[in-house]
């Protein structure tokens, strides 16, 4: 169990204000927040990279507030991975083992086992400068795991990757977590990433923890305006019926809207979709449109560099969010008829009532 009690820190323009968190053993805990919220500083405090004057950090009933990083037994994967460029892949992974002066033969054995687990056995002799982003991420993860840490810290582990690799590695990270059962703290600014991966999520804004909750609770019941604003107030629809179309696809009816939703499992009772995942168009989109509908604009409100548009569709009022520069090229007005598409892969389905 990791406990952070009343942690405050001022570091240049970054500051943490009275952080209190407790993270359970074996939990996959995601810290979610916008850029500059202080997420990285908080993680660096856990790794022992900052001198803490106010507050306490406890790992398993041992206070570690003033312990140096090498005494904390944490695995740390920083942003951009920070792979040692003067060592090849094997020696990067073996770095911590050599430091711990593990027995000679134990090192290759452990490195090979981790490389196997990460699917990088074929690149062990490679120069690290020629690695792709995804490969670097795996090397950094294997390097952090090699000395068998008690806690794994991942700072935006998927942020530097292209979308496809990131998506694949999300599953990989969860699999590694399942296999090792290691308490993992993962930082991200991506809500979907947090919802998909976390056992629990903490939303951090301006150096403060705004809410700690399970992903569903976070999505459906954001606490306070700041969290709701950041999460983006999803459209939540109750389902009247749910029909299995086979191959992991279900059809649900929500107040007159017939939606196609990818979902493995039982009957869907509720679906949620974020405003930014509803596309609005003035003309009928060409081709076959899954989850495409027609509606009437009921309200328009600019928020920062985005514009929120409320649309009546069947018996529902949905909110869409589009960038201002796109809005300006359209001629939307209240009362006007529009076409909208709810992105199928972005709809989240829930079985609980």
């Amino acid at each position: 169990m990791i406990e952070i009690k009343g942690l405050s820190l001022q570091l240049g323009e970054f500051h943490l204000k009275d952080i209190n968190l407790s993270i359970r053993d074996g939990e996959y805990f995601v810290i979610l927040g916008p850029t500059g919220a202080g997420k990285t500083v908080l993680m660096e405090c856990l790794a022992g990279l900052h001198h803490i004057r106010k507050g306490e950090i406890w790992f398993d009933r041992t206070e570690v507030t003033h312990l140096v990083p090498e005494e904390r037994n944490v695995g740390y994967v920083p942003q951009d991975y920070v792979i040692f460029p003067f060592l090849n892949v094997f020696n990067n992974i073996a770095f911590g083992l050599k430091q711990a002066r593990s027995a000679g033969s134990a090192i290759p054995e452990r490195v090979n086992k981790l490389a196997d687990m990460m699917g990088i056995s074929h690149i062990l002799r490679r120069d690290t400068r020629s690695l792709s982003g995804g490969e670097k991420q795996r090397v950094a993860l294997a390097r952090a795991l090699a000395p068998s840490p008690a806690i794994l810290l991942l700072d935006e582990p998927l942020g530097a990757l292209d979308l496809r690799t990131a998506k694949y590695l999300r599953l990989e990270l969860r699999r590694v977590h399942r296999e090792l059962g290691l308490t993992t703290i993962h930082i991200t600014h991506d809500l979907m990433e947090a919802l998909e991966m976390a056992d629990r999520v903490a939303v951090v804004q301006n150096g403060q923890v705004e809410q700690v909750a399970g992903p569903e609770e976070m999505l459906f019941y954001p606490e306070g305006e700041k969290v709701a604003d950041f999460i983006g107030a999803p459209n939540i629809l109750d389902c009247d019926y749910c029909r299995d179309l086979g191959q992991g696809i279900k059809e649900v009816g929500c107040g007159g809207l017939k939606l196609t939703v990818p979902h493995e499992g039982g009957t869907i009772r509720k679906v949620a979709i974020l405003p930014r995942h509803i596309y609005v168009s003035e003309t009928r989109p060409p081709g076959l449109s899954v989850n495409g509908f027609q509606g009437i604009v009921t309200d328009i409100k600019p928020v920062g560099n985005m514009v929120r548009i409320w649309i009546d569709v069947a018996d529902n009022n949905l909110m869409s969010e589009i960038p201002s520069y796109i809005f300006e090229e359209m001629s939307l007005a209240v009362g006007k008829e529009v076409f909208l598409i709810l992105r199928m892969r972005r709809i989240r389905a829930y079985e609980k009532q």
């Binding site: 790794a47 022992g48 920070v82 711990a100």
Partner: protein, 269 residues
């Protein structure tokens, strides 16, 4: 007024102007070397080059410059690291003070050293521990005084360019602060260390002002290569002076080529 410098024409004018400056400077240096070549009588050149006196000067210069460069780098590594990474009150002032030897005339530094060895403390060191004044250790000390600032400056920019996160990651992998420095930062600084070593060595080899003031210019005793040029010119032996100048030029070119070869790109100062 700058109307003709606008558009594509302006671009051409600018390009011609900058490249002309480069060509002029190159012509100037090549002209100097060619004029020396034209002036030289080769038989006299060869006999001067292999004279006892010049061979002694080469040996003395290479030995003292090597010792001075090693000591300077050993001092400069921790100093440059401290300035690059640590923050302490008065850091800016210390940082500027360390630049003084680069901008002050070497002869002034030599004179200052000479004055120091006339104080009771300096005289005590000179008379009872190591004799610096008008002696070979004086050459090394004069060189160190002049080149250590350069070594610090070069190494500081090397350490500045190394992301501190490498050390942080090493720490989380079990390294103590010194271990992280030796296992991660030093290997990352390898290119910069070699370049700084060679550049400070080459600079030490050419040092004259401070050396001659502190160690004097006695043939077969404290006569380094630059001192040999000075002594040759003073006795109107131009062939000998030219021979030594070529030795210095060849060493300098070799040093720069080695740096390029090792680092694989142009070093940055």
């Amino acid at each position: 007024m700058f109307k003709i410098l606008k558009g594509a024409g302006g671009e051409r004018v600018f390009k011609v102007a900058t490249i002309s400056a480069l060509v002029l400077l190159a012509v100037f240096f090549i002209g100097i070397i060619v004029s020396m070549l034209a002036y030289t009588r080769w038989d006299a050149f060869v006999s001067a080059l292999f004279s006892e006196e010049i061979l002694f000067a080469i040996r003395l210069s290479v030995t003292t410059a090597t010792i001075a460069a090693i000591i300077s780098i050993l001092i400069a590594v921790p100093v440059a690291y401290a300035i690059s990474r640590a923050s302490f009150p008065g850091k800016d002032i210390v940082d500027s003070l360390l630049d003084l030897p680069i901008v002050i005339s070497p002869i002034a530094l030599g004179a200052a050293l000479l004055v120091f060895f006339n104080t009771p403390l300096g005289a005590g060191i000179n008379n009872h521990i190591i004799k610096f004044v008008f002696a070979v250790p004086g050459i090394v000390l004069a060189q160190i005084t002049v080149i250590s600032a350069l070594a610090i400056r070069l190494l500081k920019s090397t350490f500045d360019s190394i992301d501190p996160r490498y050390e942080q990651v090493a720490r989380t992998l079990g390294c103590s602060k010194p271990e992280a420095f030796f296992r991660v930062t030093l290997p990352l600084a390898r290119g910069g260390l070699i370049a700084s070593g060679i550049l400070t060595w080459a600079r030490a080899l050419g040092e004259f002002g401070a050396t001659v003031t502190l160690a004097g210019a006695t043939a077969f005793k404290t006569e380094t290569l630059p001192t040999a040029i000075f002594l040759s010119l003073a006795s109107a032996d131009v062939e000998k002076a030219i021979a030594v100048i070529f030795v210095l030029i060849i060493i300098a070119i070799a040093a720069l080529l080695v740096i390029r070869k090792i680092i694989g790109r142009r070093y940055q100062i």
